[in-house]
């Protein structure tokens, strides 16, 4: 029985990834066969060789760390300020009255268009990039936190108040944990935006990070480097998505969501 379940597990793993393997194989075979201009689409093996070389000489890890650094710092600022603002909105009618129209206007506008203004104000260093990331990420975090904290089950609140819980304890011990799944979902929606904006701002200021690496490659017509940068950016995105999933399971270990996920 053990071997049978192993083969079926292997088969499932294959079935789940077969189209990725096919695409990668087609990429290598068609480019080697000369079906595409190798400048526009270099063979996968050349891209991997290029990537490996830039990993070995330290360039790609360095650029990936820079991108990760500005994305994480900008995101952390947005998370701290956004969760606070969202919670305040659900607790105070005045704050809600002021913030609601601001959030509803800020949600759809393309915030990246403010980048030249941020560069004018904060210079060309990391500062405008970090502020841009924070500005973009804060909106979904505020609205998720507000919705999460404003819709906490009334019975939780009544029970806690009945037992004599103070306002402060009520907030930290009841409202925040009850809203945690929605707050974390808001953070999970916001983080991909942090990476999108990090890469764009790096391309525009054209210095460091994976965005800078790729835009330099285009300017110097090194197409294998463009693809190597794309793969590195994809890996960075995968790393953060995985990290968020693990963090979510850890933070919500007490929640029904995690228990049911563990059971299947």
């Amino acid at each position: 029985m053990a071997t049978r379940s192993t083969t079926s597990w292997l088969w499932r793993g294959f079935e789940r990834n077969v189209s990725i393997v096919v695409v990668l194989a087609l990429w290598e075979i068609t480019t080697r066969a000369g079906l595409f201009n190798n400048f526009l689409l270099p063979p996968l093996s050349d891209v991997l060789a290029r990537g490996l070389r830039d990993v070995m000489n330290g360039e790609l890890p360095r650029q990936a760390l820079i991108t990760a650094y500005i994305a994480v710092v900008g995101f952390a600022l947005a998370a701290a300020a956004g969760v606070a603002a969202g919670a305040l909105m659900s607790m105070s009618a005045v704050v809600r009255r002021i913030m609601e129209p601001v959030v509803s206007v800020a949600f759809p506008i393309p915030k990246i268009s403010f980048l030249p203004i941020f560069i004018l104000w904060f210079g060309l260093d990391n500062m405008p990039k970090i502020m841009m990331i924070a500005f973009t990420c804060i909106v979904p975090i505020i609205s998720a936190t507000y919705l999460g904290t404003a819709t906490v089950d009334k019975y939780f609140l009544w029970s806690a108040q009945n037992l004599g819980t103070t306002r402060h304890t009520l907030f930290w011990k009841v409202i925040v944990p009850a809203a945690a799944p929605q707050i974390i979902s808001g953070l999970q929606v916001a983080f991909p935006l942090a990476l999108i904006i990090a890469v764009v701002t790096e391309m525009l200021t054209g210095a460091d990070g994976l965005g800078g690496y790729m835009i330099h490659a285009v300017r110097f017509a090194q197409s294998d480097k463009v693809f190597a940068g794309l793969l590195a950016t994809l890996l960075l995105g995968m790393f953060f998505m995985q990290a968020f999933a693990i963090l979510r399971a850890r933070l919500l270990v007490w929640h029904a969501e995690t228990a049911s996920a563990g059971a299947t």
Partner: protein
């Protein structure tokens, strides 16, 4: 409260904010060399419209954004529906979605410069691919989540099998599809501006960049204001359409 008054009253804090901007600029709290007043920005807005640049560039940008968005919406809804209906399509597409989902889509812009040059095609491609995945994923989830009782009722009432996806599944999934489209719409403007910043060949993003390089900061603020207004107007138009399309629900 009358309906005509409700909207301006809701947005009152925004107007107060704008007023504070103007006052801060007038009293010298803001350095006019790096932060022009609201008045100067509006004057520059009028000047840019008068000279024709603003409207012309806005049309170019809107064309790129809406082509990319509508391509993404039609391909995305179609493939999401097919994934939900056919196991085979799901097995082919799901691994590819899973593998490309974590990529921040703005990273594709250099690739499109390489492949498509600096014309409209590169920008439309950036908007298209950037918006595609949210549409596919929300459509697939919505179509999978359709209440099974609706399908059973349709079967038992003798609805033809090939009609069910379009007559039953699609309308039932529409609310969730629309919320995926709304996220894609906001993303489409972000990618349009990003691509135009990077591939300087007309459009509002390019206009913002060149005005900034010329040191015409009121003009730059006015162009940013134009992009902001476009994104906002598109979203409100979308919400209006959404409410009309989903009016049968309640």
């Amino acid at each position: 409260m009358s309906k005509a008054l409700r909207v301006p009253i809701f947005y009152l804090p925004i107007f107060v904010g704008l007023l504070m901007w103007e006052l801060a600029a007038r009293t010298g709290l803001l350095d006019p060399s790096i932060c022009p007043s609201l008045g100067a920005t509006l004057a520059a807005f009028a000047r840019l419209i008068d000279k024709g640049h603003l409207l012309e560039n806005a049309w170019i940008s809107l064309f790129r954004q809406s082509s990319g968005f509508f391509l993404a919406a039609s391909f995305g809804i179609l493939s999401g529906m097919l994934m939900a209906q056919s196991r085979w399509v799901f097995n082919v597409l799901e691994p590819l979605l899973r593998a490309t989902f974590p990529l921040p889509k703005s990273a594709l812009i250099p690739l499109f410069i390489l492949w498509l040059g600096i014309g409209d095609a590169a920008k439309v491609a950036a908007v298209f691919l950037g918006c595609l995945l949210p549409v596919v994923i929300s459509t697939y989830n919505a179509a999978r989540g359709v209440n099974k009782q609706l399908l059973w009722s349709a079967w038992s009432l003798g609805t033809a099998k090939w009609l069910i996806p379009w007559k039953i599944v699609f309308p039932a999934a529409l609310p969730e599809i629309m919320s995926g489209l709304r996220i894609a719409l906001a993303l489409s403007f972000t990618l349009m501006v990003s691509a135009e910043f990077l591939i300087g060949n007309r459009g509002l993003g390019t206009l913002i960049g060149t005005l900034g390089e010329d040191g015409d900061y009121p003009g730059m603020f006015a162009a940013v204001l134009a992009v902001t207004l476009l994104g906002f107007a598109a979203d409100r138009l979308f919400l209006w359409l959404n409410n009309r399309l989903l009016r049968w629900r309640d």
